[in-house]
Protein backbone atom coordinates (compact mmCIF):
# COMPACT_ATOMS: atom_id res chain seq x y z
CA UNK A 1 0.00 0.00 0.00
CA UNK A 2 2.80 2.43 0.96
CA UNK A 3 4.66 1.64 -2.26
CA UNK A 4 1.54 2.39 -4.30
CA UNK A 5 1.13 5.68 -2.41
CA UNK A 6 4.74 6.62 -3.09
CA UNK A 7 4.24 5.91 -6.79
CA UNK A 8 0.95 7.86 -6.92
CA UNK A 9 2.52 10.82 -5.10
CA UNK A 10 5.55 10.81 -7.40
CA UNK A 11 3.34 10.62 -10.51
CA UNK A 12 1.04 13.39 -9.27
CA UNK A 13 3.81 15.84 -8.44
CA UNK A 14 5.79 14.96 -11.56
CA UNK A 15 2.70 15.59 -13.67
CA UNK A 16 2.06 18.93 -11.94
CA UNK A 17 5.70 19.90 -12.40
CA UNK A 18 5.64 18.93 -16.06
CA UNK A 19 2.42 20.82 -16.66
CA UNK A 20 3.71 23.87 -14.79
CA UNK A 21 6.60 24.02 -17.24
CA UNK A 22 4.97 22.90 -20.49
CA UNK A 23 1.19 23.49 -20.29
CA UNK A 24 1.48 26.87 -21.99
CA UNK A 25 3.48 25.41 -24.91
CA UNK A 26 0.94 22.60 -25.28
CA UNK A 27 -1.90 25.14 -25.25
CA UNK A 28 -0.17 27.43 -27.75
CA UNK A 29 0.55 24.56 -30.12
CA UNK A 30 -3.20 23.96 -30.44
CA UNK A 31 -3.88 27.57 -31.46
CA UNK A 32 -3.73 28.97 -35.02
CA UNK A 33 -0.57 30.95 -35.66
CA UNK A 34 -1.38 34.25 -37.34
CA UNK A 35 0.40 37.25 -38.74
CA UNK A 36 -1.17 40.64 -38.27
CA UNK A 37 -0.72 43.78 -40.30
CA UNK A 38 -2.48 47.09 -40.87
CA UNK A 39 -4.90 46.97 -43.83
CA UNK A 40 -3.51 48.06 -47.16
CA UNK A 41 -4.61 51.31 -48.71
CA UNK A 42 -4.99 51.89 -52.42
CA UNK A 43 -5.98 54.88 -54.51
CA UNK A 44 -9.57 54.70 -55.63
CA UNK A 45 -11.39 57.16 -57.89
CA UNK A 46 -13.56 59.52 -55.98
CA UNK A 47 -15.51 62.72 -56.48
CA UNK A 48 -14.92 65.93 -54.57
CA UNK A 49 -17.83 68.38 -54.47
CA UNK A 50 -16.81 71.99 -53.94
CA UNK A 51 -18.87 74.61 -52.13
CA UNK A 52 -20.14 76.05 -55.33
CA UNK A 53 -21.31 72.61 -56.49
CA UNK A 54 -18.47 71.93 -58.85
CA UNK A 55 -17.62 68.22 -59.04
CA UNK A 56 -13.97 67.35 -59.33
CA UNK A 57 -12.91 63.80 -60.04
CA UNK A 58 -9.77 62.56 -58.36
CA UNK A 59 -8.36 59.68 -56.33
CA UNK A 60 -8.19 59.09 -52.59
CA UNK A 61 -6.40 56.49 -50.52
CA UNK A 62 -8.91 54.00 -49.16
CA UNK A 63 -8.60 50.77 -47.24
CA UNK A 64 -8.56 47.90 -49.73
CA UNK A 65 -8.93 44.15 -49.51
CA UNK A 66 -8.37 41.45 -52.10
CA UNK A 67 -10.98 39.05 -53.48
CA UNK A 68 -9.17 36.20 -51.77
CA UNK A 69 -9.47 37.92 -48.40
CA UNK A 70 -13.18 38.49 -48.97
CA UNK A 71 -13.71 34.85 -49.84
CA UNK A 72 -11.77 33.54 -46.84
CA UNK A 73 -13.32 36.01 -44.47
CA UNK A 74 -11.72 39.08 -42.95
CA UNK A 75 -10.57 38.65 -39.40
CA UNK A 76 -9.34 41.41 -37.14
CA UNK A 77 -7.06 40.99 -34.14
CA UNK A 78 -8.11 42.16 -30.70
CA UNK A 79 -6.88 41.61 -27.17
CA UNK A 80 -8.84 40.85 -24.04
CA UNK A 81 -8.21 39.47 -20.59
CA UNK A 82 -8.79 35.76 -20.10
CA UNK A 83 -8.00 33.86 -16.91
CA UNK A 84 -5.82 36.65 -15.55
CA UNK A 85 -3.80 37.21 -18.74
CA UNK A 86 -4.01 39.44 -21.81
CA UNK A 87 -4.48 37.22 -24.85
CA UNK A 88 -4.98 37.63 -28.60
CA UNK A 89 -8.31 36.79 -30.24
CA UNK A 90 -9.83 37.35 -33.66
CA UNK A 91 -13.25 38.56 -34.68
CA UNK A 92 -14.84 38.53 -38.11
CA UNK A 93 -15.14 41.97 -39.67
CA UNK A 94 -18.34 42.55 -41.65
CA UNK A 95 -17.01 44.76 -44.42
CA UNK A 96 -19.04 46.64 -47.02
CA UNK A 97 -17.11 46.96 -50.23
CA UNK A 98 -17.36 49.51 -52.98
CA UNK A 99 -15.41 49.97 -56.19
CA UNK A 100 -12.96 47.41 -57.48
CA UNK A 101 -9.63 48.30 -59.02
CA UNK A 102 -6.69 46.12 -59.97
CA UNK A 103 -8.01 43.20 -57.98
CA UNK A 104 -8.56 45.26 -54.82
CA UNK A 105 -11.96 46.17 -53.40
CA UNK A 106 -12.50 49.48 -51.66
CA UNK A 107 -13.76 49.07 -48.09
CA UNK A 108 -16.55 51.48 -47.32
CA UNK A 109 -17.25 50.32 -43.76
CA UNK A 110 -16.33 47.55 -41.34
CA UNK A 111 -12.59 48.21 -41.18
CA UNK A 112 -10.52 51.09 -39.91
CA UNK A 113 -6.87 51.92 -40.39
CA UNK A 114 -6.29 51.12 -36.69
CA UNK A 115 -7.38 47.50 -37.13
CA UNK A 116 -4.93 44.68 -37.60
CA UNK A 117 -5.88 42.23 -40.34
CA UNK A 118 -4.95 38.66 -39.58
CA UNK A 119 -3.59 36.01 -41.93
CA UNK A 120 -3.37 32.33 -41.04
CA UNK A 121 -2.98 29.04 -42.81
CA UNK A 122 -5.50 27.48 -40.42
CA UNK A 123 -9.22 28.00 -40.14
CA UNK A 124 -10.13 30.91 -37.90
CA UNK A 125 -13.29 31.19 -35.80
CA UNK A 126 -15.20 34.13 -34.45
CA UNK A 127 -13.71 35.10 -31.05
CA UNK A 128 -11.17 32.30 -31.34
CA UNK A 129 -7.87 32.59 -29.53
CA UNK A 130 -4.76 32.87 -31.69
CA UNK A 131 -1.00 33.13 -31.33
CA UNK A 132 0.89 35.88 -33.06
CA UNK A 133 3.77 34.49 -35.08
CA UNK A 134 7.02 36.26 -34.29
Amino acid sequence: MKKALVVITAVFFSAMGFLSLFAREIHNSSLPRVTAARPETRPFPTEFILEDGTVIEGTAERIAVTREQLEQGIFVLYYREKNGERRAFVRRAEVVTGAEKDGYFEVISGLSSNDFLVQSDRLLYENGEVILAE
Binding site: L5, F12, M16, H27, S30, K82, G84
Partner: protein, 253 residues
Protein backbone atom coordinates in the same frame (compact mmCIF):
# COMPACT_ATOMS: atom_id res chain seq x y z
CA UNK B 1 -25.53 -2.69 19.67
CA UNK B 2 -22.23 -2.91 17.81
CA UNK B 3 -24.07 -3.36 14.50
CA UNK B 4 -26.26 -0.30 15.17
CA UNK B 5 -23.14 1.76 15.99
CA UNK B 6 -21.42 0.51 12.84
CA UNK B 7 -24.45 1.42 10.68
CA UNK B 8 -24.76 4.83 12.35
CA UNK B 9 -21.06 5.57 11.87
CA UNK B 10 -21.28 4.43 8.25
CA UNK B 11 -24.20 6.81 7.66
CA UNK B 12 -22.34 9.70 9.31
CA UNK B 13 -19.27 8.83 7.23
CA UNK B 14 -21.40 8.82 4.08
CA UNK B 15 -22.77 12.28 4.96
CA UNK B 16 -19.22 13.59 5.27
CA UNK B 17 -18.06 11.84 2.10
CA UNK B 18 -21.01 12.94 -0.03
CA UNK B 19 -19.73 16.48 -0.83
CA UNK B 20 -16.34 15.05 -1.84
CA UNK B 21 -17.93 12.41 -4.08
CA UNK B 22 -20.23 15.01 -5.65
CA UNK B 23 -17.25 17.32 -6.27
CA UNK B 24 -15.41 14.55 -8.09
CA UNK B 25 -18.50 13.67 -10.17
CA UNK B 26 -19.21 17.30 -11.06
CA UNK B 27 -15.58 17.81 -12.12
CA UNK B 28 -16.11 15.26 -14.90
CA UNK B 29 -19.46 16.66 -15.98
CA UNK B 30 -19.82 18.63 -19.19
CA UNK B 31 -22.77 19.94 -21.15
CA UNK B 32 -23.46 16.51 -22.63
CA UNK B 33 -22.51 14.17 -19.81
CA UNK B 34 -19.01 12.87 -19.09
CA UNK B 35 -16.34 15.33 -20.19
CA UNK B 36 -12.72 16.19 -19.43
CA UNK B 37 -13.24 19.75 -20.70
CA UNK B 38 -13.09 21.14 -17.17
CA UNK B 39 -9.68 19.60 -16.56
CA UNK B 40 -8.48 20.77 -20.01
CA UNK B 41 -9.66 24.31 -19.28
CA UNK B 42 -7.95 24.27 -15.91
CA UNK B 43 -4.66 22.58 -16.78
CA UNK B 44 -4.11 23.91 -20.32
CA UNK B 45 -5.94 27.23 -20.38
CA UNK B 46 -5.55 28.76 -16.92
CA UNK B 47 -1.90 29.30 -16.19
CA UNK B 48 -2.38 31.32 -13.00
CA UNK B 49 -3.39 27.99 -11.42
CA UNK B 50 0.17 26.58 -11.34
CA UNK B 51 1.95 29.31 -9.31
CA UNK B 52 -0.93 29.21 -6.84
CA UNK B 53 -0.68 25.41 -6.53
CA UNK B 54 3.05 25.51 -5.85
CA UNK B 55 2.64 28.46 -3.48
CA UNK B 56 0.23 26.35 -1.42
CA UNK B 57 2.72 23.48 -1.33
CA UNK B 58 5.66 25.72 -0.41
CA UNK B 59 3.88 27.79 2.24
CA UNK B 60 2.36 24.69 3.89
CA UNK B 61 5.63 22.73 3.85
CA UNK B 62 7.73 25.62 5.16
CA UNK B 63 5.25 26.54 7.89
CA UNK B 64 4.94 22.89 8.97
CA UNK B 65 8.72 22.43 9.14
CA UNK B 66 9.35 25.68 11.00
CA UNK B 67 6.48 25.06 13.40
CA UNK B 68 7.86 21.65 14.32
CA UNK B 69 11.29 23.18 14.95
CA UNK B 70 9.69 25.74 17.27
CA UNK B 71 7.07 23.70 19.10
CA UNK B 72 9.16 20.61 19.94
CA UNK B 73 11.62 22.54 22.14
CA UNK B 74 8.74 24.58 23.50
CA UNK B 75 6.79 21.47 24.54
CA UNK B 76 9.99 19.89 25.89
CA UNK B 77 10.62 22.98 27.98
CA UNK B 78 7.10 22.83 29.38
CA UNK B 79 7.48 19.17 30.30
CA UNK B 80 11.00 19.32 31.81
CA UNK B 81 11.62 22.84 33.01
CA UNK B 82 10.37 24.12 36.34
CA UNK B 83 9.75 27.88 36.39
CA UNK B 84 7.39 30.34 37.98
CA UNK B 85 4.19 30.92 36.03
CA UNK B 86 4.51 27.69 34.02
CA UNK B 87 0.92 26.63 34.62
CA UNK B 88 -0.39 30.13 33.93
CA UNK B 89 1.56 30.28 30.67
CA UNK B 90 0.17 26.90 29.65
CA UNK B 91 -3.40 28.09 30.34
CA UNK B 92 -2.60 31.19 28.25
CA UNK B 93 -1.54 28.91 25.38
CA UNK B 94 -4.85 27.04 25.63
CA UNK B 95 -6.73 30.37 25.52
CA UNK B 96 -4.69 31.36 22.44
CA UNK B 97 -5.55 28.04 20.84
CA UNK B 98 -9.27 28.70 21.26
CA UNK B 99 -9.09 32.25 19.91
CA UNK B 100 -10.71 32.44 16.45
CA UNK B 101 -8.74 33.74 13.49
CA UNK B 102 -11.13 36.66 12.97
CA UNK B 103 -10.03 38.16 16.31
CA UNK B 104 -6.33 38.27 15.43
CA UNK B 105 -6.39 38.92 11.72
CA UNK B 106 -6.69 42.71 11.92
CA UNK B 107 -3.83 43.15 14.46
CA UNK B 108 -1.82 40.77 12.26
CA UNK B 109 -2.52 42.89 9.18
CA UNK B 110 -1.54 46.12 10.97
CA UNK B 111 1.67 44.55 12.27
CA UNK B 112 2.63 43.15 8.87
CA UNK B 113 1.79 46.43 7.14
CA UNK B 114 4.03 48.34 9.55
CA UNK B 115 6.84 45.82 8.94
CA UNK B 116 6.40 46.12 5.17
CA UNK B 117 5.44 42.47 4.80
CA UNK B 118 2.14 42.91 2.99
CA UNK B 119 2.31 41.22 -0.44
CA UNK B 120 5.31 39.21 0.76
CA UNK B 121 5.36 35.42 1.36
CA UNK B 122 6.96 36.05 4.76
CA UNK B 123 3.75 37.83 5.70
CA UNK B 124 2.02 34.44 5.46
CA UNK B 125 4.79 32.31 6.97
CA UNK B 126 5.99 34.38 9.95
CA UNK B 127 2.67 34.74 11.83
CA UNK B 128 2.20 30.97 11.66
CA UNK B 129 5.64 29.95 12.92
CA UNK B 130 4.24 29.33 16.39
CA UNK B 131 1.15 27.25 17.10
CA UNK B 132 -0.23 26.82 20.63
CA UNK B 133 -2.15 23.77 19.39
CA UNK B 134 1.07 21.93 18.55
CA UNK B 135 2.63 22.80 21.90
CA UNK B 136 -0.42 21.61 23.84
CA UNK B 137 -0.70 18.30 21.95
CA UNK B 138 3.01 17.61 22.11
CA UNK B 139 3.20 18.51 25.80
CA UNK B 140 0.38 16.06 26.57
CA UNK B 141 2.21 13.36 24.65
CA UNK B 142 5.54 14.12 26.32
CA UNK B 143 3.96 13.43 29.71
CA UNK B 144 3.55 9.80 28.62
CA UNK B 145 7.16 9.38 27.48
CA UNK B 146 9.67 7.41 29.48
CA UNK B 147 11.51 9.90 31.73
CA UNK B 148 14.19 7.33 32.62
CA UNK B 149 15.54 7.74 29.08
CA UNK B 150 15.97 11.45 29.70
CA UNK B 151 17.64 10.77 33.06
CA UNK B 152 20.04 8.34 31.39
CA UNK B 153 20.81 10.91 28.71
CA UNK B 154 21.54 13.56 31.38
CA UNK B 155 24.29 11.28 32.74
CA UNK B 156 25.99 11.31 29.36
CA UNK B 157 25.62 14.94 28.37
CA UNK B 158 24.68 18.32 29.78
CA UNK B 159 23.44 19.65 26.45
CA UNK B 160 19.65 20.06 26.59
CA UNK B 161 19.48 20.17 22.79
CA UNK B 162 21.32 16.87 22.50
CA UNK B 163 19.10 15.26 25.14
CA UNK B 164 16.04 16.47 23.29
CA UNK B 165 17.23 15.33 19.87
CA UNK B 166 18.63 11.93 20.85
CA UNK B 167 16.28 10.84 23.64
CA UNK B 168 12.98 12.68 23.33
CA UNK B 169 12.38 13.23 19.60
CA UNK B 170 12.71 9.52 18.67
CA UNK B 171 9.99 8.72 21.19
CA UNK B 172 7.79 11.46 19.72
CA UNK B 173 7.86 10.31 16.10
CA UNK B 174 4.22 9.33 16.09
CA UNK B 175 3.09 12.56 17.74
CA UNK B 176 5.28 14.65 15.47
CA UNK B 177 3.69 13.00 12.41
CA UNK B 178 0.22 13.66 13.80
CA UNK B 179 0.94 17.31 14.58
CA UNK B 180 2.68 17.80 11.22
CA UNK B 181 -0.37 16.41 9.44
CA UNK B 182 -2.72 18.75 11.30
CA UNK B 183 -0.51 21.76 10.72
CA UNK B 184 -0.05 21.00 7.02
CA UNK B 185 -3.79 20.53 6.51
CA UNK B 186 -4.52 23.74 8.40
CA UNK B 187 -2.04 25.73 6.32
CA UNK B 188 -3.20 24.11 3.09
CA UNK B 189 -6.78 25.16 3.78
CA UNK B 190 -6.06 28.73 4.87
CA UNK B 191 -7.75 31.31 2.70
CA UNK B 192 -8.18 34.47 4.76
CA UNK B 193 -4.50 35.21 5.25
CA UNK B 194 -3.47 34.88 1.57
CA UNK B 195 -6.54 36.84 0.53
CA UNK B 196 -5.82 39.74 2.88
CA UNK B 197 -2.04 39.77 3.15
CA UNK B 198 -1.15 39.10 -0.50
CA UNK B 199 -2.04 41.37 -3.41
CA UNK B 200 -0.14 39.82 -6.32
CA UNK B 201 -1.91 36.84 -7.92
CA UNK B 202 1.35 34.95 -8.43
CA UNK B 203 1.92 34.86 -4.65
CA UNK B 204 -1.56 33.69 -3.69
CA UNK B 205 -2.57 30.13 -2.88
CA UNK B 206 -4.80 27.49 -4.42
CA UNK B 207 -7.49 28.09 -1.80
CA UNK B 208 -7.78 31.70 -3.02
CA UNK B 209 -7.95 30.46 -6.63
CA UNK B 210 -10.88 28.19 -5.74
CA UNK B 211 -12.67 30.99 -3.91
CA UNK B 212 -12.32 33.17 -7.04
CA UNK B 213 -12.93 30.38 -9.58
CA UNK B 214 -16.09 32.01 -10.90
CA UNK B 215 -13.94 34.92 -12.19
CA UNK B 216 -12.18 32.60 -14.63
CA UNK B 217 -13.55 31.24 -17.89
CA UNK B 218 -14.54 27.60 -18.07
CA UNK B 219 -15.74 25.05 -15.55
CA UNK B 220 -12.70 25.38 -13.25
CA UNK B 221 -14.23 25.15 -9.80
CA UNK B 222 -14.74 21.41 -9.46
CA UNK B 223 -11.55 20.22 -11.21
CA UNK B 224 -9.50 22.64 -9.09
CA UNK B 225 -11.27 21.41 -5.96
CA UNK B 226 -10.38 17.79 -6.84
CA UNK B 227 -6.73 18.71 -7.36
CA UNK B 228 -6.87 20.67 -4.09
CA UNK B 229 -7.94 17.55 -2.20
CA UNK B 230 -5.19 15.28 -3.56
CA UNK B 231 -2.04 16.41 -1.65
CA UNK B 232 -3.72 16.39 1.77
CA UNK B 233 -5.39 13.08 0.97
CA UNK B 234 -2.03 11.54 0.02
CA UNK B 235 -0.45 12.92 3.19
CA UNK B 236 -3.26 11.50 5.29
CA UNK B 237 -2.96 8.09 3.64
CA UNK B 238 0.76 8.12 4.40
CA UNK B 239 0.47 9.26 8.01
CA UNK B 240 -3.10 8.37 8.98
CA UNK B 241 -1.99 5.61 11.35
CA UNK B 242 0.41 8.01 13.09
CA UNK B 243 -2.41 10.53 13.43
CA UNK B 244 -4.62 7.96 15.14
CA UNK B 245 -1.85 6.79 17.47
CA UNK B 246 -0.66 10.31 18.17
CA UNK B 247 -4.07 11.51 19.25
CA UNK B 248 -5.14 8.44 21.24
CA UNK B 249 -1.87 7.97 23.11
CA UNK B 250 -1.92 11.60 24.10
CA UNK B 251 -5.40 11.07 25.51
CA UNK B 252 -4.43 7.95 27.46
CA UNK B 253 -1.68 9.83 29.27
Amino acid sequence: MKKISAVLLALIGAVFLLPVILTVIMSFRGEKGFSLQGYWDLLFDCFVFYPMFWNSIIYSAVITAVQLIVIIPCAFGFSQAKFKGKNGLFVFYIVLMMMPLQVTILPNYIGLRDMGLIDNPLGIILPLIFSPFGVVVMHQYMKSTDSSVIEAARLETNSIVRIMLTSVVPQLRVCISAVALFVFADCWNMVEQPMLFLKTDSLKTLSVFISNAQNYEGNLLFPSAVIFIIPVLLLYLFYGESLEKGLTLGELS
